[in-house]
Protein backbone atom coordinates (compact mmCIF):
# COMPACT_ATOMS: atom_id res chain seq x y z
CA UNK A 1 0.00 0.00 0.00
CA UNK A 2 1.10 3.52 -0.77
CA UNK A 3 -0.47 5.26 2.18
CA UNK A 4 1.47 5.94 5.31
CA UNK A 5 0.63 3.31 7.88
CA UNK A 6 0.28 5.64 10.82
CA UNK A 7 -1.93 8.33 9.32
CA UNK A 8 -4.54 9.47 11.82
CA UNK A 9 -8.02 9.38 10.27
CA UNK A 10 -10.12 10.09 13.33
CA UNK A 11 -9.14 12.11 16.33
CA UNK A 12 -11.44 12.82 19.26
CA UNK A 13 -10.33 15.12 22.06
CA UNK A 14 -12.39 15.12 25.25
CA UNK A 15 -15.64 14.66 23.39
CA UNK A 16 -18.84 14.59 25.44
CA UNK A 17 -22.40 14.57 24.21
CA UNK A 18 -25.75 14.87 25.91
CA UNK A 19 -28.91 14.28 23.86
CA UNK A 20 -31.51 17.00 24.01
CA UNK A 21 -33.89 16.25 26.85
CA UNK A 22 -31.56 13.71 28.47
CA UNK A 23 -30.28 14.23 31.99
CA UNK A 24 -27.00 12.39 31.59
CA UNK A 25 -24.22 12.54 29.07
CA UNK A 26 -24.32 9.63 26.62
CA UNK A 27 -20.55 9.83 26.16
CA UNK A 28 -18.07 11.65 28.38
CA UNK A 29 -14.52 12.84 27.81
CA UNK A 30 -13.80 10.46 24.98
CA UNK A 31 -10.32 10.87 23.57
CA UNK A 32 -9.03 8.54 20.92
CA UNK A 33 -7.11 8.34 17.68
CA UNK A 34 -7.83 5.91 14.92
CA UNK A 35 -5.18 5.27 12.28
CA UNK A 36 -5.52 4.20 8.69
CA UNK A 37 -5.90 0.45 8.24
CA UNK A 38 -6.92 -0.30 11.82
CA UNK A 39 -9.67 -2.80 12.61
CA UNK A 40 -11.27 -1.57 15.80
CA UNK A 41 -13.76 -3.58 17.83
CA UNK A 42 -15.93 -1.55 20.18
CA UNK A 43 -17.72 -3.41 22.97
CA UNK A 44 -19.68 -2.61 26.08
CA UNK A 45 -23.08 -3.16 27.66
CA UNK A 46 -26.23 -1.73 26.10
CA UNK A 47 -26.59 1.98 26.65
CA UNK A 48 -22.87 2.53 27.25
CA UNK A 49 -22.59 5.03 24.41
CA UNK A 50 -21.28 2.86 21.57
CA UNK A 51 -23.92 3.99 19.10
CA UNK A 52 -23.49 7.61 20.17
CA UNK A 53 -19.77 7.29 19.53
CA UNK A 54 -20.44 5.91 16.02
CA UNK A 55 -22.72 8.85 15.32
CA UNK A 56 -19.88 11.24 16.12
CA UNK A 57 -17.66 9.55 13.53
CA UNK A 58 -19.84 10.61 10.62
CA UNK A 59 -21.20 13.81 12.05
CA UNK A 60 -24.75 12.67 12.77
CA UNK A 61 -23.79 14.03 16.16
CA UNK A 62 -23.89 17.01 16.53
CA UNK A 63 -25.50 17.81 13.14
CA UNK A 64 -28.52 15.50 13.00
CA UNK A 65 -29.09 14.88 16.70
CA UNK A 66 -29.57 17.94 18.83
CA UNK A 67 -27.86 18.18 22.18
CA UNK A 68 -24.85 19.43 24.04
CA UNK A 69 -21.58 18.70 22.28
CA UNK A 70 -18.27 19.34 24.00
CA UNK A 71 -14.70 18.76 22.91
CA UNK A 72 -13.31 18.45 19.42
CA UNK A 73 -13.69 15.68 16.86
CA UNK A 74 -11.71 15.70 13.63
CA UNK A 75 -12.54 13.09 10.99
CA UNK A 76 -10.38 12.89 7.85
CA UNK A 77 -9.36 16.49 8.36
CA UNK A 78 -12.89 17.82 8.94
CA UNK A 79 -14.16 19.24 12.20
CA UNK A 80 -17.41 17.28 12.62
CA UNK A 81 -19.09 20.11 14.51
CA UNK A 82 -18.79 22.28 11.41
CA UNK A 83 -19.22 19.66 8.67
CA UNK A 84 -22.58 18.30 7.53
CA UNK A 85 -22.99 14.53 7.33
CA UNK A 86 -23.36 14.53 3.56
CA UNK A 87 -19.76 15.71 3.22
CA UNK A 88 -18.41 13.34 5.87
CA UNK A 89 -20.26 10.43 4.24
CA UNK A 90 -17.71 10.60 1.43
CA UNK A 91 -15.07 9.57 3.97
CA UNK A 92 -17.03 7.56 6.52
CA UNK A 93 -19.43 4.81 5.45
CA UNK A 94 -21.99 3.83 8.04
CA UNK A 95 -23.80 0.51 8.30
CA UNK A 96 -26.60 0.20 10.82
CA UNK A 97 -28.08 -2.61 12.83
CA UNK A 98 -31.41 -2.88 11.02
CA UNK A 99 -30.70 -3.70 7.38
CA UNK A 100 -34.24 -2.92 6.35
CA UNK A 101 -34.14 0.72 7.40
CA UNK A 102 -31.11 1.56 5.31
CA UNK A 103 -32.45 0.20 2.03
CA UNK A 104 -34.93 2.54 0.40
CA UNK A 105 -35.57 1.43 -3.15
CA UNK A 106 -37.17 -1.31 -5.18
CA UNK A 107 -33.98 -2.79 -6.57
CA UNK A 108 -30.49 -3.47 -5.27
CA UNK A 109 -29.04 -1.58 -8.22
CA UNK A 110 -30.93 1.62 -7.39
CA UNK A 111 -29.78 1.21 -3.81
CA UNK A 112 -26.11 1.32 -4.82
CA UNK A 113 -26.65 4.10 -7.35
CA UNK A 114 -28.46 6.35 -4.84
CA UNK A 115 -25.36 7.31 -2.82
CA UNK A 116 -23.36 7.91 -5.99
CA UNK A 117 -26.05 10.20 -7.38
CA UNK A 118 -26.01 12.11 -4.12
CA UNK A 119 -22.29 12.68 -4.58
CA UNK A 120 -23.18 14.27 -7.92
CA UNK A 121 -21.03 11.87 -9.95
CA UNK A 122 -21.41 11.72 -13.76
CA UNK A 123 -23.19 8.71 -15.26
CA UNK A 124 -20.08 6.99 -16.61
CA UNK A 125 -18.39 7.15 -13.20
CA UNK A 126 -21.53 5.78 -11.52
CA UNK A 127 -21.66 2.92 -14.02
CA UNK A 128 -17.98 2.17 -13.38
CA UNK A 129 -18.33 2.08 -9.62
CA UNK A 130 -21.55 0.10 -9.83
CA UNK A 131 -19.81 -2.58 -11.90
CA UNK A 132 -16.90 -2.59 -9.52
CA UNK A 133 -18.91 -3.25 -6.35
CA UNK A 134 -21.21 -5.72 -8.11
CA UNK A 135 -18.14 -7.70 -9.08
CA UNK A 136 -16.41 -7.40 -5.70
CA UNK A 137 -19.50 -8.30 -3.67
CA UNK A 138 -20.80 -10.84 -6.22
CA UNK A 139 -24.17 -9.07 -6.38
CA UNK A 140 -24.98 -9.83 -10.00
CA UNK A 141 -27.85 -12.28 -9.27
CA UNK A 142 -29.39 -9.85 -6.76
CA UNK A 143 -29.12 -6.68 -8.84
CA UNK A 144 -32.74 -6.51 -10.02
CA UNK A 145 -34.25 -7.92 -6.86
CA UNK A 146 -36.10 -5.87 -4.28
CA UNK A 147 -34.20 -5.49 -1.00
CA UNK A 148 -37.12 -6.89 1.01
CA UNK A 149 -36.94 -10.12 -1.01
CA UNK A 150 -33.41 -10.72 0.27
CA UNK A 151 -32.31 -12.52 3.42
CA UNK A 152 -31.00 -10.44 6.33
CA UNK A 153 -27.42 -11.34 5.50
CA UNK A 154 -27.82 -10.37 1.86
CA UNK A 155 -29.48 -7.11 2.87
CA UNK A 156 -26.55 -6.24 5.12
CA UNK A 157 -24.17 -7.13 2.29
CA UNK A 158 -26.03 -4.73 -0.01
CA UNK A 159 -25.92 -2.01 2.66
CA UNK A 160 -22.15 -2.46 2.93
CA UNK A 161 -21.77 -2.49 -0.86
CA UNK A 162 -23.77 0.73 -1.14
CA UNK A 163 -21.36 2.36 1.34
CA UNK A 164 -18.23 0.99 -0.32
CA UNK A 165 -19.35 2.27 -3.74
CA UNK A 166 -18.92 5.76 -2.28
CA UNK A 167 -15.26 4.86 -1.57
CA UNK A 168 -15.03 5.87 2.08
CA UNK A 169 -11.80 5.72 4.04
CA UNK A 170 -13.49 4.40 7.15
CA UNK A 171 -16.34 1.92 7.48
CA UNK A 172 -18.31 2.16 10.72
CA UNK A 173 -20.62 -0.76 11.49
CA UNK A 174 -23.03 -0.46 14.39
CA UNK A 175 -24.00 -4.00 15.46
CA UNK A 176 -24.28 -5.18 11.85
CA UNK A 177 -25.02 -8.79 12.80
CA UNK A 178 -27.49 -8.20 15.64
CA UNK A 179 -30.47 -9.36 13.57
CA UNK A 180 -28.69 -12.12 11.66
CA UNK A 181 -28.40 -15.85 12.15
CA UNK A 182 -24.89 -17.15 13.04
CA UNK A 183 -24.05 -18.25 9.50
CA UNK A 184 -25.02 -14.96 7.84
CA UNK A 185 -23.27 -13.10 10.65
CA UNK A 186 -20.06 -14.93 9.83
CA UNK A 187 -20.47 -14.15 6.11
CA UNK A 188 -20.88 -10.44 6.82
CA UNK A 189 -17.90 -10.37 9.16
CA UNK A 190 -15.76 -12.26 6.64
CA UNK A 191 -16.69 -9.65 4.06
CA UNK A 192 -15.64 -6.84 6.38
CA UNK A 193 -12.39 -8.65 7.08
CA UNK A 194 -11.75 -8.98 3.35
CA UNK A 195 -12.31 -5.25 2.85
CA UNK A 196 -9.87 -4.47 5.64
CA UNK A 197 -7.16 -6.88 4.51
CA UNK A 198 -7.42 -6.45 0.73
CA UNK A 199 -8.27 -2.79 0.46
CA UNK A 200 -6.74 -1.44 3.63
CA UNK A 201 -10.11 -0.06 4.65
CA UNK A 202 -10.22 1.22 8.21
CA UNK A 203 -12.98 -0.58 10.11
CA UNK A 204 -14.72 0.39 13.32
CA UNK A 205 -17.23 -2.22 14.40
CA UNK A 206 -19.58 -2.34 17.37
CA UNK A 207 -20.35 -5.98 18.02
CA UNK A 208 -21.56 -8.18 20.83
CA UNK A 209 -20.21 -11.34 19.24
CA UNK A 210 -16.69 -10.73 20.49
CA UNK A 211 -15.54 -14.24 19.60
CA UNK A 212 -16.29 -13.48 15.95
CA UNK A 213 -14.30 -10.25 15.73
CA UNK A 214 -11.54 -10.70 18.30
CA UNK A 215 -9.38 -12.93 16.06
CA UNK A 216 -9.44 -10.41 13.19
CA UNK A 217 -9.48 -7.04 14.96
CA UNK A 218 -6.27 -5.17 15.66
CA UNK A 219 -7.63 -3.11 18.50
CA UNK A 220 -10.35 -3.34 21.09
CA UNK A 221 -12.14 -0.54 22.89
CA UNK A 222 -14.29 -1.28 25.93
CA UNK A 223 -16.89 1.29 26.91
CA UNK A 224 -18.92 1.62 30.06
CA UNK A 225 -21.27 4.37 31.13
CA UNK A 226 -20.20 6.67 28.35
CA UNK A 227 -16.49 6.34 28.95
CA UNK A 228 -13.70 4.33 27.40
CA UNK A 229 -12.47 1.99 30.13
CA UNK A 230 -10.03 -0.12 28.08
CA UNK A 231 -8.33 0.56 24.79
CA UNK A 232 -5.51 -1.42 23.25
CA UNK A 233 -4.48 -4.45 21.22
CA UNK A 234 -7.15 -7.18 21.36
CA UNK A 235 -5.09 -9.69 23.30
CA UNK A 236 -4.00 -7.15 25.86
CA UNK A 237 -7.54 -5.93 26.49
CA UNK A 238 -8.92 -9.45 26.72
CA UNK A 239 -6.32 -10.40 29.29
CA UNK A 240 -7.85 -7.92 31.76
CA UNK A 241 -9.76 -9.99 34.29
CA UNK A 242 -12.40 -7.36 35.05
CA UNK A 243 -13.99 -7.34 31.58
CA UNK A 244 -16.94 -9.51 32.57
CA UNK A 245 -17.79 -7.15 35.42
CA UNK A 246 -17.80 -4.35 32.85
CA UNK A 247 -20.54 -6.09 30.91
CA UNK A 248 -18.45 -7.60 28.11
CA UNK A 249 -19.26 -11.09 26.89
CA UNK A 250 -15.75 -12.47 26.57
CA UNK A 251 -15.21 -15.43 24.23
CA UNK A 252 -15.39 -18.94 25.74
CA UNK A 253 -11.71 -19.56 25.03
CA UNK A 254 -10.81 -16.51 27.11
CA UNK A 255 -12.98 -17.79 29.95
CA UNK A 256 -11.12 -21.09 29.80
CA UNK A 257 -7.84 -19.19 29.89
CA UNK A 258 -8.86 -17.53 33.16
CA UNK A 259 -10.20 -20.76 34.67
CA UNK A 260 -6.89 -22.45 33.92
CA UNK A 261 -5.08 -19.49 35.38
CA UNK A 262 -7.09 -19.82 38.58
CA UNK A 263 -5.86 -23.40 38.80
CA UNK A 264 -2.31 -22.18 38.29
CA UNK A 265 -2.05 -23.32 34.70
CA UNK A 266 -0.63 -20.29 32.94
CA UNK A 267 -0.78 -20.13 29.18
CA UNK A 268 1.68 -17.89 27.38
CA UNK A 269 -0.94 -15.64 25.77
CA UNK A 270 -4.68 -15.20 25.78
CA UNK A 271 -6.08 -17.46 23.05
CA UNK A 272 -8.57 -15.85 20.63
CA UNK A 273 -9.75 -18.98 18.81
CA UNK A 274 -10.25 -22.62 19.83
CA UNK A 275 -7.30 -23.52 17.56
CA UNK A 276 -5.01 -21.17 19.43
CA UNK A 277 -6.17 -22.62 22.74
CA UNK A 278 -5.48 -26.13 21.46
CA UNK A 279 -1.98 -25.16 20.34
CA UNK A 280 -1.23 -23.48 23.65
CA UNK A 281 -2.44 -26.52 25.57
CA UNK A 282 -0.41 -28.91 23.40
CA UNK A 283 2.65 -26.76 23.92
CA UNK A 284 2.24 -26.99 27.70
Amino acid sequence: MVSKPDRVLIELRKVSFKYKGATEYAIRDISLRIHEGEFVLVVGPSGCGKTTLCRVFNGLIPNFYEGEFKGKAVVCGYDVAKTPTYILSKYVGMVFQEPENQLFFSTVEKEIVFGLENLGLPSNEIAKRLNEVVEYFKLKPLLKKAPYELSGGEQQKVAIAACIAMRPKVLVLDEPTANLDPMSAKDVIDLVKKLNRERGLTVIIVEHRVELIAPIATRMIVMNRGRIVRDGPVRKVLSCEDLVSKGVAVPKVVEIYFKLKAKNINLRTVPLTPEELKQELLRG
Binding site: R55, N58, L60, F64, P84, T85, Y86, I87, S89, K90, V92, G93, M94, F96, E98, E100, N101, Q102, F104, F105, S106, K110, V113, F114, G115, L116, E117, N118, L119, G120, L121, P122, S123, I126, A127, Y148, A162, C163, M166
Partner: protein, 244 residues
Protein backbone atom coordinates in the same frame (compact mmCIF):
# COMPACT_ATOMS: atom_id res chain seq x y z
CA UNK B 1 -62.32 -2.19 -2.87
CA UNK B 2 -59.10 -3.34 -1.24
CA UNK B 3 -58.71 -5.95 -3.94
CA UNK B 4 -59.15 -3.27 -6.59
CA UNK B 5 -56.40 -1.25 -4.89
CA UNK B 6 -54.11 -4.26 -4.87
CA UNK B 7 -54.46 -4.54 -8.63
CA UNK B 8 -52.74 -1.17 -8.93
CA UNK B 9 -49.53 -2.86 -7.85
CA UNK B 10 -46.89 -2.61 -10.54
CA UNK B 11 -45.60 -5.83 -12.04
CA UNK B 12 -42.52 -5.61 -14.23
CA UNK B 13 -43.27 -6.79 -17.79
CA UNK B 14 -41.48 -6.23 -21.03
CA UNK B 15 -44.07 -4.92 -23.49
CA UNK B 16 -44.32 -1.89 -25.78
CA UNK B 17 -46.69 -0.18 -23.35
CA UNK B 18 -44.42 -0.77 -20.37
CA UNK B 19 -41.47 0.59 -22.32
CA UNK B 20 -43.17 3.82 -23.31
CA UNK B 21 -41.75 6.94 -21.72
CA UNK B 22 -43.75 7.70 -18.56
CA UNK B 23 -44.16 11.29 -19.72
CA UNK B 24 -46.04 10.26 -22.84
CA UNK B 25 -48.18 7.99 -20.68
CA UNK B 26 -48.89 10.88 -18.30
CA UNK B 27 -49.89 13.05 -21.27
CA UNK B 28 -52.16 10.37 -22.67
CA UNK B 29 -53.73 9.75 -19.25
CA UNK B 30 -54.45 13.46 -18.86
CA UNK B 31 -55.92 13.76 -22.39
CA UNK B 32 -58.12 10.71 -22.06
CA UNK B 33 -59.36 11.57 -18.59
CA UNK B 34 -60.20 15.10 -19.81
CA UNK B 35 -62.21 13.56 -22.63
CA UNK B 36 -63.97 11.26 -20.17
CA UNK B 37 -64.76 14.09 -17.76
CA UNK B 38 -66.17 16.35 -20.48
CA UNK B 39 -68.18 13.67 -22.26
CA UNK B 40 -71.86 13.15 -21.34
CA UNK B 41 -72.68 10.41 -23.83
CA UNK B 42 -72.39 6.67 -23.92
CA UNK B 43 -70.58 6.04 -27.23
CA UNK B 44 -67.35 8.04 -26.57
CA UNK B 45 -67.07 6.63 -23.06
CA UNK B 46 -67.38 3.10 -24.37
CA UNK B 47 -64.72 3.90 -26.98
CA UNK B 48 -62.30 5.01 -24.23
CA UNK B 49 -63.00 1.88 -22.21
CA UNK B 50 -62.40 -0.33 -25.26
CA UNK B 51 -59.21 1.61 -26.04
CA UNK B 52 -57.99 0.93 -22.50
CA UNK B 53 -58.82 -2.75 -22.85
CA UNK B 54 -56.88 -2.95 -26.13
CA UNK B 55 -53.90 -1.27 -24.48
CA UNK B 56 -54.16 -3.66 -21.53
CA UNK B 57 -54.11 -6.62 -23.92
CA UNK B 58 -51.01 -5.19 -25.64
CA UNK B 59 -49.43 -4.75 -22.20
CA UNK B 60 -50.36 -8.33 -21.23
CA UNK B 61 -52.16 -6.90 -18.22
CA UNK B 62 -55.82 -7.45 -19.13
CA UNK B 63 -56.45 -9.53 -16.03
CA UNK B 64 -55.26 -6.78 -13.72
CA UNK B 65 -57.39 -4.19 -15.48
CA UNK B 66 -60.48 -6.41 -15.35
CA UNK B 67 -59.88 -6.98 -11.65
CA UNK B 68 -59.95 -3.22 -11.12
CA UNK B 69 -63.17 -2.89 -13.12
CA UNK B 70 -64.76 -5.76 -11.22
CA UNK B 71 -63.69 -4.14 -7.96
CA UNK B 72 -65.39 -0.86 -8.77
CA UNK B 73 -68.47 -2.39 -10.46
CA UNK B 74 -70.65 -2.08 -7.32
CA UNK B 75 -69.80 1.61 -7.12
CA UNK B 76 -70.69 2.06 -10.79
CA UNK B 77 -74.03 0.39 -10.11
CA UNK B 78 -74.51 2.69 -7.12
CA UNK B 79 -73.87 5.74 -9.30
CA UNK B 80 -76.35 4.44 -11.86
CA UNK B 81 -79.06 3.95 -9.21
CA UNK B 82 -78.44 7.33 -7.63
CA UNK B 83 -78.76 9.04 -11.01
CA UNK B 84 -81.92 7.13 -11.86
CA UNK B 85 -83.56 8.03 -8.56
CA UNK B 86 -82.67 11.70 -8.54
CA UNK B 87 -83.63 12.56 -12.09
CA UNK B 88 -86.57 11.49 -14.21
CA UNK B 89 -86.29 10.41 -17.84
CA UNK B 90 -82.52 10.32 -17.66
CA UNK B 91 -81.80 6.66 -18.25
CA UNK B 92 -79.17 7.30 -20.93
CA UNK B 93 -77.41 9.89 -18.76
CA UNK B 94 -77.41 7.50 -15.80
CA UNK B 95 -75.83 4.78 -17.90
CA UNK B 96 -73.30 7.29 -19.22
CA UNK B 97 -72.41 8.39 -15.68
CA UNK B 98 -71.64 4.88 -14.50
CA UNK B 99 -69.62 4.12 -17.65
CA UNK B 100 -67.82 7.39 -17.08
CA UNK B 101 -66.72 6.16 -13.67
CA UNK B 102 -65.58 2.83 -15.09
CA UNK B 103 -63.64 4.38 -17.98
CA UNK B 104 -61.96 6.93 -15.71
CA UNK B 105 -60.83 4.14 -13.40
CA UNK B 106 -59.61 2.16 -16.43
CA UNK B 107 -57.57 5.10 -17.75
CA UNK B 108 -55.84 5.71 -14.42
CA UNK B 109 -55.29 2.11 -13.43
CA UNK B 110 -53.83 1.33 -16.83
CA UNK B 111 -51.22 4.01 -16.16
CA UNK B 112 -50.27 2.58 -12.77
CA UNK B 113 -50.36 -1.01 -14.00
CA UNK B 114 -47.87 -0.28 -16.77
CA UNK B 115 -45.61 2.35 -15.16
CA UNK B 116 -43.15 1.55 -12.37
CA UNK B 117 -43.40 3.98 -9.44
CA UNK B 118 -39.76 4.89 -9.95
CA UNK B 119 -40.27 5.74 -13.62
CA UNK B 120 -43.29 7.80 -12.65
CA UNK B 121 -41.22 9.68 -10.08
CA UNK B 122 -38.39 10.17 -12.53
CA UNK B 123 -40.89 11.67 -14.95
CA UNK B 124 -42.17 14.00 -12.24
CA UNK B 125 -38.56 15.02 -11.49
CA UNK B 126 -38.07 15.78 -15.15
CA UNK B 127 -41.25 17.80 -15.15
CA UNK B 128 -39.82 19.93 -12.36
CA UNK B 129 -40.92 18.33 -9.10
CA UNK B 130 -38.13 18.43 -6.46
CA UNK B 131 -36.37 15.13 -5.75
CA UNK B 132 -37.18 15.26 -2.02
CA UNK B 133 -40.90 14.96 -2.74
CA UNK B 134 -40.64 12.12 -5.19
CA UNK B 135 -38.21 10.28 -2.91
CA UNK B 136 -40.76 10.54 -0.10
CA UNK B 137 -43.34 8.96 -2.38
CA UNK B 138 -41.03 6.16 -3.57
CA UNK B 139 -40.07 5.39 0.00
CA UNK B 140 -43.67 5.39 1.13
CA UNK B 141 -44.36 2.69 -1.47
CA UNK B 142 -41.25 0.81 -0.46
CA UNK B 143 -42.12 0.71 3.25
CA UNK B 144 -45.72 -0.45 2.88
CA UNK B 145 -44.75 -4.15 3.28
CA UNK B 146 -42.55 -3.31 6.28
CA UNK B 147 -45.40 -1.41 7.89
CA UNK B 148 -47.78 -4.30 7.26
CA UNK B 149 -45.33 -6.67 8.93
CA UNK B 150 -44.86 -4.40 11.95
CA UNK B 151 -48.62 -4.20 12.31
CA UNK B 152 -48.94 -7.98 12.19
CA UNK B 153 -46.16 -8.41 14.77
CA UNK B 154 -47.85 -5.98 17.16
CA UNK B 155 -51.25 -7.62 16.66
CA UNK B 156 -49.71 -11.03 17.38
CA UNK B 157 -47.91 -9.71 20.45
CA UNK B 158 -51.04 -8.07 21.89
CA UNK B 159 -53.15 -11.12 21.10
CA UNK B 160 -50.71 -13.37 22.90
CA UNK B 161 -51.24 -11.11 25.92
CA UNK B 162 -54.95 -11.72 25.74
CA UNK B 163 -56.25 -8.87 23.60
CA UNK B 164 -59.39 -10.10 21.82
CA UNK B 165 -59.80 -8.11 18.65
CA UNK B 166 -62.80 -9.94 17.23
CA UNK B 167 -65.10 -9.64 20.23
CA UNK B 168 -67.51 -6.92 21.20
CA UNK B 169 -69.56 -4.34 19.35
CA UNK B 170 -68.21 -1.79 16.90
CA UNK B 171 -67.11 0.80 19.49
CA UNK B 172 -65.46 -1.81 21.69
CA UNK B 173 -63.56 -3.17 18.71
CA UNK B 174 -62.37 0.26 17.71
CA UNK B 175 -61.19 0.85 21.25
CA UNK B 176 -59.27 -2.42 21.17
CA UNK B 177 -57.19 -1.08 18.30
CA UNK B 178 -55.68 1.61 20.56
CA UNK B 179 -53.09 -0.78 22.11
CA UNK B 180 -52.16 -1.70 18.55
CA UNK B 181 -51.97 1.74 17.02
CA UNK B 182 -49.98 3.38 19.82
CA UNK B 183 -46.97 1.02 19.64
CA UNK B 184 -47.20 1.05 15.86
CA UNK B 185 -47.00 4.83 15.67
CA UNK B 186 -44.19 4.96 18.24
CA UNK B 187 -42.25 2.33 16.35
CA UNK B 188 -42.74 3.98 12.98
CA UNK B 189 -41.53 7.31 14.35
CA UNK B 190 -38.40 5.56 15.59
CA UNK B 191 -38.06 3.83 12.24
CA UNK B 192 -38.30 7.14 10.42
CA UNK B 193 -35.41 8.45 12.54
CA UNK B 194 -33.35 5.41 11.61
CA UNK B 195 -34.19 5.91 7.95
CA UNK B 196 -33.32 9.61 8.09
CA UNK B 197 -30.01 8.72 9.72
CA UNK B 198 -29.23 6.18 7.02
CA UNK B 199 -30.21 8.65 4.27
CA UNK B 200 -27.84 11.27 5.67
CA UNK B 201 -25.07 8.70 5.88
CA UNK B 202 -25.43 8.08 2.17
CA UNK B 203 -24.75 11.74 1.36
CA UNK B 204 -28.39 12.66 0.89
CA UNK B 205 -29.02 16.38 1.06
CA UNK B 206 -25.84 17.62 -0.59
CA UNK B 207 -27.98 19.48 -3.11
CA UNK B 208 -25.94 18.80 -6.22
CA UNK B 209 -27.39 15.41 -7.13
CA UNK B 210 -26.78 13.80 -10.46
CA UNK B 211 -29.17 11.37 -12.09
CA UNK B 212 -28.02 8.00 -13.36
CA UNK B 213 -31.35 6.90 -14.78
CA UNK B 214 -32.50 8.88 -17.76
CA UNK B 215 -35.77 8.88 -19.65
CA UNK B 216 -35.73 8.71 -23.40
CA UNK B 217 -38.49 9.67 -25.78
CA UNK B 218 -38.65 7.53 -28.93
CA UNK B 219 -40.85 7.63 -32.03
CA UNK B 220 -43.22 5.25 -30.23
CA UNK B 221 -43.96 7.93 -27.68
CA UNK B 222 -44.85 10.38 -30.45
CA UNK B 223 -47.12 7.81 -32.06
CA UNK B 224 -48.79 7.12 -28.73
CA UNK B 225 -49.25 10.81 -27.91
CA UNK B 226 -50.70 11.54 -31.37
CA UNK B 227 -53.00 8.51 -31.09
CA UNK B 228 -54.28 9.76 -27.73
CA UNK B 229 -54.84 13.26 -29.14
CA UNK B 230 -56.80 11.88 -32.07
CA UNK B 231 -58.87 9.80 -29.68
CA UNK B 232 -59.62 12.90 -27.61
CA UNK B 233 -60.74 14.73 -30.78
CA UNK B 234 -62.98 11.79 -31.73
CA UNK B 235 -64.53 11.75 -28.23
CA UNK B 236 -65.25 15.46 -28.31
CA UNK B 237 -66.66 15.26 -31.83
CA UNK B 238 -68.99 12.37 -31.02
CA UNK B 239 -70.02 14.02 -27.79
CA UNK B 240 -71.21 17.10 -29.69
CA UNK B 241 -72.46 15.49 -32.89
CA UNK B 242 -74.21 12.29 -31.83
CA UNK B 243 -77.40 12.06 -29.72
CA UNK B 244 -76.03 9.40 -27.32
Amino acid sequence: MLKALKSFKYIEKSTIIHKLDPRSKILSTILLSLGVLVSQKITPLIIVTIFCIILAITAKSLRQLLRVIRGIAPWAAFIFLLNCLTGSDKLMLSIAMSIKFVSLAAVFSLFFITTSPEDFMLALNNLGMPYEYTLAFTMAMRFVPSLARDLQTIIDAQRSRGLELDKGNFIERVRKYIPILVPLIVYEIRRSFMIAEALESRAFGSGKRSSFYKLKITYRDFVFAILSSILLAVILFIDIALPW
